[in-house]
Amino acid sequence: MDQIISGGGTPARSGGLLYSGNDWNFQTIRDCYDAIEEIAHGELGLETYTNRVEIITSEQMLDVYTAHGMPVGYKHWSFGKRFIGHENAYRRGLMGLAYEVVINSDPCISYLMEENSATMQALVIAHAAFGHNHFFRNNRLFREWTDPSDILDYLEFARGYIARCEERHGQRAVERVLDAAHALQNQGVNRHSGARKLDLKAEQQRAKERRAYEDSIFNDLWRTLPTEAGGADGAAEGGDARRLLGLPEENLLYFLEKNAPRLAPWEREIIRIVRMIAQYFYPQPQVKMMNEGCATWVHVYIMRRLHELGRIDDAAYLEVIHSTSNVINQPGFDMGGGASFNPYALGYAMMTDIVRICTEPTAEDRAWFPDIAGNGDAIGTLRHAWAEYRDESFIQQFLSPRVIRDFRMFRLSDDTAQPYLLVDAIHDEAGYREIRRSLARVYDPGTFYTEIEIVDVDLLGDRTLKLEHRTRAGQLLQARDARQTLDYLAALWGYGVVLNEVDDQTGAVLATHTAGPAQ
């Protein structure tokens, strides 16, 4: 990108150097922020949530990692496990810490490490506080599925609630519910309808009502009687009851929260907390590549402009180039480091390519992308893509032959019946569309989420919960994990659980997993 792309906005002013050397102070950060904001809002037309920049130490960064970047979290051993894992990797030098972590919240919080140089702080502000922030605020998935204004308060509420439960009911009892809910959290989101807005007051109110109800029905006389479960459901006729229970249901945690007969109110609330947080994180993996690409593209653009305007010196700009090229490095399949795509590399390359197509298209581009080629509005096109696509559809729509050639992509067909792997598409005329289709499928949420439905409850019999996993032969659930997870599910449900793996095409049952009722 040699020429300046015009975003239709006002070009930023030039001025003196913002800083020189590596050292920074709070004034430096503020100056950089203002200069960056001018470019981001003026030239790129980004729309962002209010920013909050927090300076933290590397030790605190490890804490932030553990909680998926969330500043508050409830206590659970699995976070400790993650923490120890990160700590070991970091101490042994296997893992460098990210320069930043950014949270999808309003205000949008970016964490900057104190060890960063002045240039890195500026880069990180451009990357996180403007790139990611714009993406969080504008991408359709985030808009529909998450509510950034309440998440921090909700997490605070969750931590407080779980701590109080531990006081009242003991750590073991709470851990039992959390373990089970965590195992099911990937099956604890509504995939097909957006999340309702979190309303903290209502959440707290409901928690309080549950408590009050629990207290009001506490009665020593009844307490010692065996629990009579099911209640009115038990009398209902099969089909009718299925309708009442809202079956089939793909959100297992939701179903348990509402219908599990043996759970105490506080246990339902804990399940709800895990479910709400899982729901909040649900969009992230589906747009990871775009999100990182967007942030990287934005910081590259902004840092280049700062350099052109004389706000940073050559040394600083070299540092930017060095750091960026590390981030967007894509090793080949045989270079070690795994064969997966680097989301930064792919996202950045595709976005840079869109700019090229919009401003200086070749004949090939005109044939492939007639509606955007040469439209002269590169930034508008990018903003549109950032807002309306997720990784899968973005690749399907915008992966150009040029990027496929640059990455030298090829496709292997792996048929376990054959003793060899077949190269069935490479970066040539015949292969472009094949590769694009297959790569898009990798990012299809259907491939990385396992969808499991509750299809029936044996209401007239022993209340066994029946689940179904629609799949095909050779793509079954990992058996040991499935059994352990079902044990957790049975513990929450209170009765037996059966999971059938059913062939999508023929309807044949491929495998069955069961778990007995909890003692």
């Binding site: 909050r52 920049v53 051993w77 120890i84 195992a183 894509q330 792996d414 019946a417 990992q478 994990d481």
Partner: protein, 435 residues
């Protein structure tokens, strides 16, 4: 935009979560810790310990698909030489490498590696000695106490000026002054100024004269109150109080006594080493400073360093009393029992010159046992010195052990038995727990 400096915020948010992990994997961690101890050198155990536990103990299951058969497509980058239709050898290891690894690992069950902890010294030792306690430790400790240290114990009304608790004293003084209504000096000054100003007025109007009269009265009252109600009253004074607390001796010495005569094989020495090692780690947790003295003996005894102790073979007959005498001498010279907690661990195959056994027993009973905290004797079985199921030495020691609680004797035959025997010797006493 706000910039917030979070660096001064509390660190270690995850310490609690970390603790819970240890708790969760407790049994696995404990096994790993004991393995680590079994491998280490005596003085090194418990320092900077990384241990690994199988990932199973901390596995988080979930419902997820794995690819095992059928067809699938994989898109990769960095093609240099392939064209369409090329057939590639599957990578070795059941098709690992190129992403089919997930399926394979899944079939093998989990496929996760072991999980590595770095434990702090305290965590390590706590796990290691989960429920062990030296018998009657406290009682004996206090009885051997030499000096005391002052410890804070509340407040008192009197004391040396250097112990004055200024904060509390002033708080009480303020409360008293407020309660009794002591006027502020500034108030008096103000009244006096006003009086001076009025007195300077000539002629004064009747109202001013009246005001002057009132002010003079007020001045008198203020002066009186100021004089009567002191700034700091003796009742306000609070002093920090100290009590002299007995300071338990924090030093311990451990004597390792081992028979290195020809009848002790390498295997036997190794068993003995395990036992010494455990005892050392255990004492280290209890005391700030632990000294070790290695005494080996055959016909005669000598003090040696650790390496020589375990690895330098000697031959000859066995006279146990020589080692006990040497131990007693060293202890008298270097480790007076008033300042040191003394522990003795003796390992032997039970072989002794028959003429010496009586002397050994009396030395132990009359001279050594009264001076030491604890005496552990382990006899490594499998030697030729056994007569009617027990050795001479064992028989005489047993008679003494029946009378003395702090002499403990056990027989060990195999490496596996070392830890149980150790636990057995030092476990919290059942009878006191049940009482």
């Amino acid at each position: 935009m706000d910039i917030i400096d979070r660096r001064p915020n509390p660190h270690g948010k995850n310490l609690e979560n970390r603790r819970r992990v240890l708790q969760r994997a407790r049994s696995a961690v404990q096994t790993a810790v004991r393995d680590a101890v079994a491998r280490g050198k005596i003085r090194e155990v418990g320092q900077g310990n990384a241990i690994s536990v199988p990932a199973d103990a901390l596995h988080e299951p979930s419902l997820h698909r794995v690819f095992s058969e059928g067809t699938r497509e994989i898109v990769l980058t960095g093609n240099r030489e392939f064209s369409r239709g090329d057939r590639l050898q599957r990578p070795p290891g059941g098709g690992g490498g190129q992403g089919s690894g997930a399926g394979q690992a899944g079939e093998q069950g989990g496929g996760e590696d072991s999980f590595r902890f770095v434990l702090s010294r305290d965590e390590f030792l706590d796990l290691f000695f989960d429920d062990l306690e030296l018998p009657d430790l406290l009682k004996r400790e206090i009885s051997t106490t030499e000096n005391g240290v002052p410890a804070r114990s509340g407040l008192s009304n009197e004391g040396a000026p250097s112990h004055l608790d200024l904060g509390r004293t002033m708080r009480r003084s303020i409360a008293r002054r407020l309660g009794l209504g002591r006027p502020k000096p500034a108030e008096l000054l103000e009244v006096e100024e006003r009086i001076a100003a009025l007195e300077a007025l000539r002629p004064a109007s009747p109202e001013e004269l009246e005001e002057l009269e009132g002010l003079r009265e007020r001045r008198g009252m203020l002066r009186q109150r100021l004089a009567r109600i002191p700034w700091v009253d003796p009742v306000d004074l609070r002093f920090r109080r100290y009590t002299i607390m007995p300071q338990p001796a924090t030093r311990a010495v451990m004597f390792c006594i081992m028979d290195v005569s020809g009848s002790m094989t390498e295997r036997m020495k190794d068993l003995a080493k395990q036992f010494f090692l455990l005892l050392h780690v255990f004492l280290e947790r209890r005391y700030k400073k632990v000294e070790i003295v290695f005494i080996r003996h055959a016909e005669s005894a000598e003090e040696v360093d650790e390496d020589t102790f375990f690895h330098d073979p000697r031959t000859g007959g066995t006279i146990v009393s020589s080692a006990l005498e040497l131990m007693r001498t060293i202890q008298r010279e270097r480790f007076p029992s008033a300042n040191w907690n003394i522990y003795v661990a003796q390992a032997s195959d039970g072989d002794n010159a028959s003429s010496d056994t009586t002397r050994t027993a009396s030395l132990l009973r009359d001279d050594i046992l009264p001076a030491v905290q604890y005496y552990a004797y382990i006899e490594i079985t499998g030697s030729g010195a056994v007569i009617r199921g027990e050795t001479d030495l064992w028989r005489s020691y047993r008679a003494i052990a029946d009378e003395n609680d702090h002499l403990a004797i056990r027989q060990v035959g195999d490496r596996k038995e070392i830890f149980p025997v150790f636990r057995d010797l030092f476990s919290r006493q059942r009878d006191t727990a049940e009482a």
